[in-house]
Symmetry: C2
Subunit: 340 residues, 2 copies
Amino acid sequence: MTLKAKGRVTSAQVARRADVSQSAVSRTFTPGASVAPHTRQRVMDAARELGYRPNAIARSLISGRSRMIGLVAAYLDNQFYPIVLERLARALQSRGYHTLLFISEPGDQDQELEKLLAYQVDAVVMASATLSSALAKECLEADIPVVLFNRDVPDTPASCVTSDNLAGGRLVADYLLNSGHRRLAYIAGAENSSTNRDREAGFIQGLEARGISLLHRGVGAYSHQSAAQATLAMMRSDTPPDAIFVANDHMAFAVLDVLRGPLGLRVPDDISVVGFDDVPQAAWGAYELTTVAQPTDQMIEATVSMLFNQLETGQAESTRECLPVRLIERSTARIPHTDS
Amino acid sequence: MTLKAKGRVTSAQVARRADVSQSAVSRTFTPGASVAPHTRQRVMDAARELGYRPNAIARSLISGRSRMIGLVAAYLDNQFYPIVLERLARALQSRGYHTLLFISEPGDQDQELEKLLAYQVDAVVMASATLSSALAKECLEADIPVVLFNRDVPDTPASCVTSDNLAGGRLVADYLLNSGHRRLAYIAGAENSSTNRDREAGFIQGLEARGISLLHRGVGAYSHQSAAQATLAMMRSDTPPDAIFVANDHMAFAVLDVLRGPLGLRVPDDISVVGFDDVPQAAWGAYELTTVAQPTDQMIEATVSMLFNQLETGQAESTRECLPVRLIERSTARIPHTDS
DNA sequence: CTGAAAGCGCTTACAG
DNA sequence: CTGAAAGCGCTTACAG
């Protein structure tokens, strides 16, 4: 039987009904606080009867901890991010935290982020976006940990969790070179992203180490459509490449579609394609994409433990973690002969 | 020049520095409140100097409105949802609201949802999940609007926004029948979901209206893997179907992969496949999936306007909206001759 | 173990 | 237009 109080029911109302003090009610709902079993029982009964739910907002105000983590995301059309979002939110939930989501727009990053911070989030995770170093500094001074997920900004005061994009790029260069490709192309992601910067740098380094230089460079800006156009453009040039390294899987799918469809090429017989991320779709039959796998779960784990470590120590000092990647051989790139 | 106060800076501190009352500071940050230009200027200056940011938590507590919307989601591996998530969150943001995200687990829906409600969200959107009608009732009594997105629970006290899944199912039946198919199969989504229920019912109705009955029924439970297995099973039966209606695109991709890969069939020459949702990937070259398009943007608009309408009137009465769907002809289903 | 009291950082009547 | 004051619903020392 539930007595319906109009509007929110408060701890004071529960206290009255249970004939105890408001403090006793509060303690009953505070794990670890000392309440006599008998008192606790009375409170629980009264709470159930009234449909009481502690007000987390009030708790946050007094305790100074909201148990909310601000999560800034974007690019949700790239399957990599929804999966990160889901797993990260789940990990946070299991520890009693909630995720305040913010979708970042290309421009006004900082300004909107300010609003998010107004909610007194205990920490911030930036996935696929960055914040000005001014804002980052502000957060750290307020002891709000900030971790950049899958971004590595050289001189940011924030923490970073990335995979080894540089090594990944090199891996691809070696792989493609080992299977005899010499006319190599790169389709870049967003020019200002650290992922693109590092993947490209690694690829170029790997090429140069073998005395090869890049034949083509297109810009896909992490967009499906732009990647398709860039592919078309380079394939129609006088010197089409015989292998393309694409900055992420999401664009690689577009590249494959263009190659096999309008261009009527066979992959990998006519041309090899390698992506980056290893999103679930990469393993699907229609693509079977050879790609560099990011250790998504490890990255999430690192993020979470970094976050809680800082939350617990109360010190928001920035650290950085760079996890290893590995190449997943599937069917879109020629397989090197093992001539050792 | 910013004077760094340790910890959070409050309106009282700003007031002191600007030599005005704390109320004046509050008014300066309250749109529409009356403050003399001169006062406002002094406050703004002091605020900037101290790095003041109004505490949204405190504001929520006193105003009784958190400007947070609880969003319950799941199935983020199905591209339909990340896109809904992104657009919905964006729409909310543009109106000054924030999204408190909750990833629902198969079991404990209600229990975890309680925690979300403790945050005093102003409204709740349930995408790909439902809540007990008890909890829904509780929300409505507390005047917290609840809208079920893409779910239609018959006797729920919550509002529903769906597309016309029933009509969609019928559309597919007619389309497939019109192109001469007679050996029809259905691959179901989650058995307890309203989307599956209605899509299937519509399909069966459409079939029966023409005197045809379903040949095969498999269950994919909205999972890529299960859909693949279900397809394999029915194709290996003594009476394989010549057309498959799949409850959503996400599973249809798996069906196509199995058909074309391991089974070596040509689509649509050997067999037709139709999906539901029209996620972006459906239009990609590797699939070119014939499917029923849900009016995603309209559904989001309906959700948002329903929400804000209820928020403004302060009345959380449940309404329901069912938007029209349309069949998108692409390349995975035989095209009917227009014999009129 | 328990209660009275202070206080978290705001908004909002209420006078002036 | 402005300030003093009450109060949102809690947590948390502080006594007892």
